[in-house]
C-alpha cells in the first residue's frame, strides 16, 4: 500500500451522513450569499451605488480596517508577549480582560468606549477640554472602536504561538550573546511568522465587519465614519437595492482577504 492515494479512494472512506451534514452546512452558509447575488438589481447598479455613498463607505472601510489592524498588531503583539512570558501578578485576570471584547456584544464595547473616551468620558474629558481632541464622530473614533474589537484576536493568536515555541531557543540566543531585544527580533518573531499572519488576518476580517461598537462610539456619517456595514444598515429599508450592492462589496472584500490567507487561519503553524 503506497503512501499516495488517488482522491477516489479517499472519498469512498467518508461516511454518507458526514456528506449530508456537511452539505447542509455549506448550503446554509452559501445560500444568503447566493440570495444577494440573485436579488441584486444589476441593471440599476450605478445609480444604486452612488445613491448610498458606496465609494466613500468602501474607502472608509479599507482605511479604518487596515489602520485598526496595524494598531492591533503594534499593541497586541507586545501585550501577548507580556502575557506569555513576563511574570506579572494576576496574569490570568489581565488576560481575561484583554480577551473580553471577543465575548462582549460590540455595542457594549461601544458604550464602554463612550464612557472612557467620549467627550464626557473618564479620559476623553481631558483629551477634549485639555487638548481639544475629540474621538467621537471622527474616523479616529471608528478606528478606535474597530481596534478595540480586533486587538484581542491578535493577542490570542500571538500568545498561543508564543506558548508553542520552545523557550530554549531564547535561552540559547542569550547564551550565544543576544540581548533580549535582538533575540526577539531575530529568533522569536521569525518563528512566530505564521501565527502573526493568522492574527493579522483574523483582526482584519473582524475589523471589516465591525458595526456595533463603531456606530455607538463613532456615530454614523457618510464620508466620515460610515463604513460599509454602517452604510448597509442605513440603506436597508430606504434603498434595499443599494443595501444589497453594499453587502456584496463587503462579501467580495472579505472573501478576498480569506482566500488570500487560505489555510493559515485554521492552521496557524
Amino acid at each position: 500500500m503506497g503512501s499516495s492515494r488517488s482522491p477516489d479512494a479517499v472519498r469512498s472512506r467518508t461516511p454518507l451522513p458526514l456528506w449530508l451534514l456537511a452539505g447542509v452546512g455549506a448550503v446554509f452558509i452559501a445560500l444568503p450569499l447566493v440570495g444577494l447575488l440573485i436579488r441584486a438589481p444589476w441593471t440599476e447598479l450605478g445609480a444604486a451605488l452612488s445613491g448610498v455613498g458606496a465609494a466613500s463607505a468602501f474607502r472608509l472601510s479599507i482605511v479604518v480596517s487596515l489602520v485598526a489592524t496595524v494598531l492591533s498588531m503594534l499593541l497586541g503583539v507586545p501585550l501577548a508577549w507580556i502575557l506569555a512570558r513576563a511574570p506579572i501578578p494576576g496574569r490570568s485576570v489581565v488576560r481575561a480582560i484583554v480577551v473580553l471584547p471577543v465575548v462582549l456584544p460590540p455595542v457594549v464595547g461601544g458604550i464602554g468606549l463612550l464612557a472612557a473616551l467620549g467627550r464626557g468620558g473618564v479620559m476623553g474629558r481631558w483629551l477634549y477640554e485639555g487638548l481639544g481632541i475629540q474621538l467621537t464622530f471622527t474616523i479616529w473614533g471608528a478606528i478606535a472602536a474597530t481596534t478595540f474589537v480586533s486587538m484581542p484576536l491578535v493577542v490570542l493568536a500571538t500568545e498561543s504561538g508564543l506558548r508553542s515555541i520552545d523557550q530554549r531557543y531564547e535561552r540559547a540566543a542569550a547564551a550565544l550573546g543576544a540581548s533580549p531585544r535582538y533575540a526577539i527580533r531575530r529568533v522569536v518573531l521569525p518563528m512566530l511568522g505564521p501565527q502573526l499572519a493568522a492574527g493579522a488576518v483574523l483582526a482584519w476580517a473582524r475589523a471589516l465587519g465591525e458595526f456595533g461598537a463603531t456606530i455607538t462610539f463613532a456615530g454614523n456619517l457618510e464620508g466620515r465614519t460610515q463604513t460599509l456595514p454602517l452604510a448597509v444598515y442605513e440603506a436597508r429599508l430606504t434603498d434595499p437595492g443599494g443595501a444589497i450592492f453594499l453587502s456584496l462589496i463587503l462579501v467580495v472584500l472579505s472573501v478576498g482577504v480569506l482566500v488570500a490567507m487560505r489555510d493559515r487561519i485554521t492552521q496557524a503553524r
Binding site: 535561552r171 540559547a172 542569550a174 550573546g177 533575540a183 531575530r186
Partner: protein, 366 residues
C-alpha cells in the same frame, strides 16, 4: 588562565555545588547520570541561572555577575538548537551579529568556520533540511564564532545517529584540542568523556563525587556510578588487519582481536569498548568460537548484591561481570588464575582514521 568556578546553584528544590578548574587548552568532562545536575551547571555557566553562592572566574575576571549576553562563552547544545528560520550561515554568524559585528565581517568569519567544520553543508540551507550530524557541526561552528574564552559542549552526540558519531567525535576532539580557552564537555556516555577529555569530574545528585584523569578514576572508582562507568572496558591502540577480515588491536598493555565492519588500513587508530557482561570467566582453558581468550590473575573481586565485578590482570586488563552465584561456585578470589574470554564481534570498534599527529585522547597525562 582558564576557568575557575566555585559555586552553589539552585533550581526549584535542587541544589548543585561544584568546583571546577580548567586551564586554557584543557578539556574537562562533566559526567553524571540523568538528574545529576549537569544542565544546572551549564545554565549557571552560561548565566541563564543565577548563582546562589560563589563565583565563576574566567581568565581571572568574574563573569557570574554578567548577564548571559555579555559572557565570553560559546555553547553547543544537545539538541543543536539551531534557529529554525535562519540559514546555516546566519546561524553561525548569529553570535557575532548579536555583538554588533558588521554584517559582512560576521558572514565572512561564519563562512570560514563552516568551511572548516562542516564543508559539505550548504551555507544557505535551512537547519530543517540537514541531518543530525550536520546540524551539530553547524552548532559547533556557531559556538566558536564569537571567539569565546570558554567552550561548553552540552552532550553534543546525543541526537546524532550512531554512524555519524565517530566523525563528529573526531571533529569535536580536534576542535577541543585546538581551542585556546577552557572547554567543558557535558557527557552522559562515558565513552565521550573518556576519549575527549583530559580530566573528568563525576556529578551525582548535585555533588561532585570524584575528579581526576580517566586513568585515575578507572584505577580507583569511588562510587558505584564511577565503578559502572569505568566498568566499560576501554582499549585504545592501532589496528592490524588479519587475513580473515578480523583485526588485531594493539594497545599499550596488550592486544585483542576485533571484528571491523570493513577492511581496515594497517596502523589505523581505533578505540574499542567491551561490556564487562560480555566477558566470561573460566577455571580452565575454554573451548569454543570466542576469538579472545586471555589468561591472567584476578586482581579484585567486588560483589554488589547479586552481581560481581571481577578485575583480571590480563594483557590488556579486563573487567568481567558475573553473577555472585558464579563467584561462589567457582570460588573466585583475588590471586586466582583464570581464563577470560570474549568474542571479537562483541567489541564495539571506532576507527579514528590514520591520524598520527593527534594523540588518542584520554591518554594524555598532566
Amino acid at each position: 588562565m582558564g576557568l575557575h568556578a566555585d559555586f552553589v546553584a539552585r533550581r526549584d528544590r535542587f541544589e548543585v555545588a561544584v568546583t571546577l578548574d580548567v586551564a586554557d587548552g584543557e578539556t574537562l568532562a562533566l559526567l553524571g547520570p540523568n538528574g545529576a545536575g549537569k544542565s544546572t551547571v551549564v545554565d549557571a555557566l552560561t548565566g541563564t541561572l543565577e548563582l546562589a553562592e560563589g563565583t565563576i572566574e574566567l581568565d581571572g575576571e568574574r563573569i557570574d555577575l554578567l548577564p548571559p549576553e555579555q559572557r565570553p562563552v560559546g555553547i553547543c547544545f544537545q539538541d543543536d538548537l539551531l534557529f529554525p528560520r535562519l540559514s546555516t550561515l546566519e546561524n553561525v554568524a548569529f553570535p557575532l551579529r548579536a555583538r554588533r559585528t558588521e554584517k559582512s565581517t560576521a558572514r565572512a568569519r561564519a563562512a570560514e568556520l563552516l568551511e572548516r567544520l562542516a564543508p559539505d553543508v550548504d551555507s544557505s540551507a535551512m537547519p530543517g533540511s540537514l541531518s543530525g550530524g550536520e546540524r551539530q557541526r553547524v552548532a559547533l561552528a556557531r559556538a566558536l564564532a564569537a571567539e569565546p574564552r570558554l567552550l561548553l559542549l552540552d552532550e553534543p552526540f546525543s541526537n546524532v545517529d550512531v554512524s555519524a558519531r565517530p566523525g563528529l567525535r573526531a571533529l569535536v576532539r580536534e576542535v577541543a584540542l585546538g581551542f585556546g580557552g577552557a572547554t567543558v564537555l557535558i557527557a552522559h556516555d562515558p565513552l565521550d568523556a573518556l576519549t575527549l577529555a583530559h580530566y573528568v569530574t563525576l556529578l551525582e545528585e548535585g555533588r561532585q563525587t570524584q575528579t581526576g584523569t580517566p586513568e585515575q578514576i578507572r584505577a580507583a572508582p569511588r562510587s558505584s556510578y564511577a565503578a559502572d562507568l569505568v566498568g566499560v572496558n576501554l582499549f585504545t591502540g592501532v589496528l592490524e588487519p588479519l587475513e580473515d577480515g578480523a583485526a588485531t588491536l594493539r594497545t599499550a598493555d596488550g592486544q585483542i582481536t576485533v571484528a571491523p565492519e570493513a577492511t581496515v588500513a594497517h596502523g589505523s587508530q581505533a578505540i574499542a569498548s567491551l561490556k564487562p557482561i560480555d566477558v566470561s570467566l573460566h577455571m580452565t582453558e575454554p573451548e569454543g568460537s570466542a576469538r579472545n581468550v586471555l589468561r591472567g590473575t584476578i586482581a579484585e573481586v567486588a560483589v554488589d548484591g547479586d552481581r560481581a565485578r571481577v578485575r583480571v590482570d590480563t594483557r590488556p586488563p579486563l573487567t568481567a561481570e558475573v553473577t555472585a552465584g558464579s563467584v561462589a561456585r567457582m570460588g573466585l578470589r583475588a590471586g586466582d588464575e583464570v581464563w577470560a574470554s570474549f568474542k571479537a564481534v562483541e567489541v564495539s570498534l571506532q576507527i579514528e582514521g590514520n591520524d598520527d599527529e593527534a594523540p588518542p585522547a584520554g591518554t594524555l597525562g598532566r
